[in-house]
Assembly symmetry: C2
């Protein structure tokens, strides 16, 4: 089957580009002596997780218990949940997973530590817990320094919890366009993390894991001498948003290739200078901007409604039934809308992969 025969809209992965991205990041991490634990919230796929681990990834990250459960059910055996798990029913499910895979979870609240400890005691498990510190994202995470120390002490004092280290991820910094801005933001994150590690060391508490970083910033964390585990996710796909971040010379970040596409069909050419394709808001997330059209320099995707995408086509290059590839604006929430990846190589369909944890948002 060739591309043009696939029902559209469809989520298509260029397998050559995907494999190159996975190998390139794995090689970079090996060269720099740092562990890679890619974030599976990007792909939600047991197949892609297996490719990453075959190239040396120490495990994957997840954001939700149900997401972790889906991947563990599909054979992934080492998951860090880079998030707080608060609801009692979800803490129960977390502890059940503990018996089936190597598992870690984050905290930023003393009551949550108590709840995890009590559940771990009941289940007869030892749960590995990281303290999430706020290194500039201003979302979850306690302040670096004394508040982090207090939580680490509390965890260390719980018989059924094990203090696993620090989660120190700066999300918004990933998307800053300029290299200097990203470097500045991550320099501050590194300083806050280093100070916290030193405070913990003074209290006799070691940090086995110091984790964070994403596709926009990993080189800073990796060479800091502070972090020892990277959590990049989007590097495997690259999306239109990440394509806009810049290297020091202001060139686009071209370390990784676009491997994820929305395949779409032109379904109307009734207005002059315009075409309409069949991929709208239910085929891709536009939260970080509209998708980019591949291969037709004069054609731009200018507007999304639920089931339609409007394409500006001033030179009338498009005809009814034409197939196009779009680079989605934001890969993670786009992938979560689809049940299947259509894996293609050299323009031919080679495999179908389920989006294993699609919709697993609890």
């Amino acid at each position: 089957m060739v591309l043009a025969e696939i029902d559209t809209p469809a989520l298509v992965v260029d397998l050559d580009a995907l494999e190159t991205n996975i190998k390139r990041m794995a090689a970079w991490c090996a060269d720099h002596g740092i562990a890679l634990r890619p974030h599976a919230k990007t792909h939600k796929s047991a197949d892609i997780a297996a490719l990453q681990m075959a190239q040396g990834a120490v495990g994957v990250c997840c954001q939700k218990v149900s997401e972790a459960q889906a991947l563990i059910d599909a054979g992934v055996d080492d998951v860090m949940i880079t998030n707080q798990i608060v609801r009692p029913a979800m803490i129960e499910r977390l502890l059940t997973l503990c018996a089936r895979a190597r598992l870690q979870v984050c905290v930023d609240d003393a009551d949550n530590v108590d709840a995890l400890a009590e559940a771990a005691r009941r289940h007869g498990q030892e749960l590995a817990v990281l303290v999430e510190i706020n290194v500039g994202a201003n979302r979850c995470g306690v302040a670096p320094g004394p508040p982090a120390l207090a939580l680490a002490r509390q965890i260390s004092a719980c018989r059924h919890l094990r203090f696993a280290g620090l989660q120190a991820y700066h999300g918004p910094a990933q998307h800053l366009r300029s290299y200097a801005d990203r470097q500045h933001a991550i320099d501050k994150a590194i300083a806050a993390t280093r100070a916290t590690i030193e405070l913990l060391a003074q209290a006799g508490i070691a940090c086995p894991v110091v984790a964070g970083a994403g596709t926009g910033s990993f080189a800073f964390e990796a060479t800091s001498g502070v972090y020892n585990e990277l959590q990049c996710g989007s590097y495997i796909f690259m999306d239109a948003d990440y394509a806009q971040i810049r290297n020091p010379d202001d060139a686009p970040l071209d370390t990784f290739a676009h491997s994820l596409f929305i395949l779409t069909t032109v379904m109307s050419c009734a207005q002059p200078g315009q075409a309409v394709c069949d991929a709208g808001l239910k085929a891709q997330s536009t939260d970080s901007g509209l998708p980019r059209v591949i291969g037709l320099s004069d054609v731009r995707y200018t507007g999304a409604s639920d089931e339609h995408g409007v394409l500006s086509d001033p030179c009338s290059q498009l005809a009814l039934g034409d197939t196009l590839r779009l680079i989605p604006g934001h890969c993670d929430p786009t992938v979560n809308m689809h049940d299947w990846y259509v894996g293609v190589r050299g323009g031919r369909v080679e495999t179908l992969w389920p989006v294993t944890a699609r919709g697993r948002i609890a």
Copy 2:
């Protein structure tokens, strides 16, 4: 089970509000002597379609063949596809459905008419076809007047096609905030539609169906003497975007109540004046704006990332584990992210409905 026991984030429907909305629109259409064919792209649910048809809806609309197929598989027997079906494989599936339900489809292209006619001939079916005209949305649809007449003639001349009428929907007009602006836009749509019907009549072609309208504009189309079938969808749920459109007295449109919510849990309170909930971009679409928080006047949802929602909470009203209800910004693409509706009445779970056509976007 009460609300607070539901795993979050979850898609919750207030059944009392939903039923009231369905009855209110049904009664309004009955009073005004106009047919109602609600759009199922909003709910993608065979259960909700059945409620609508039990209240007198003549059928439902769908946007995609796979969506129609899912609903027909679940018992819906009358579907208008308010969209162009272009891909040969999808035209085949459309004709297969023709044998199982009353089906209509739209066109805006002469080659597409030929393709439909040839497929209908091969399947030994008579396919009902509407001509979509562009009444101001500037998306799909031929120009009103002579181009519409040409397509209607072509359809009428095909032995295996039946000209069913005109599709004349103005999407963007639904969301214009001011009543006067909506009225102005729809007045132009009505005039264009009326002129096209008259031109068709002069050519001896009758228009059995003249369809269009949405939740923001239906009163205009319904009382025009031109339209005879309404396609409102969002009225059953109302979302934060539709809550912003205004009546003539500039009061909010309060004919319909909010019945659709995202149930979410506070998962972090680590930053002062802020809480973080567990519903982000994978639980709801933010294309039409961020969700609104119910019942806490000082709490606002200020930012969505993939799995997190940041809540401004200046008075520290929220505590870890609290459950909140959000009104999503845009109901249709939000529903499409979820597998289940949790139907609640009086704060207790009464039913679970599958989102029958979730992800059916082809």
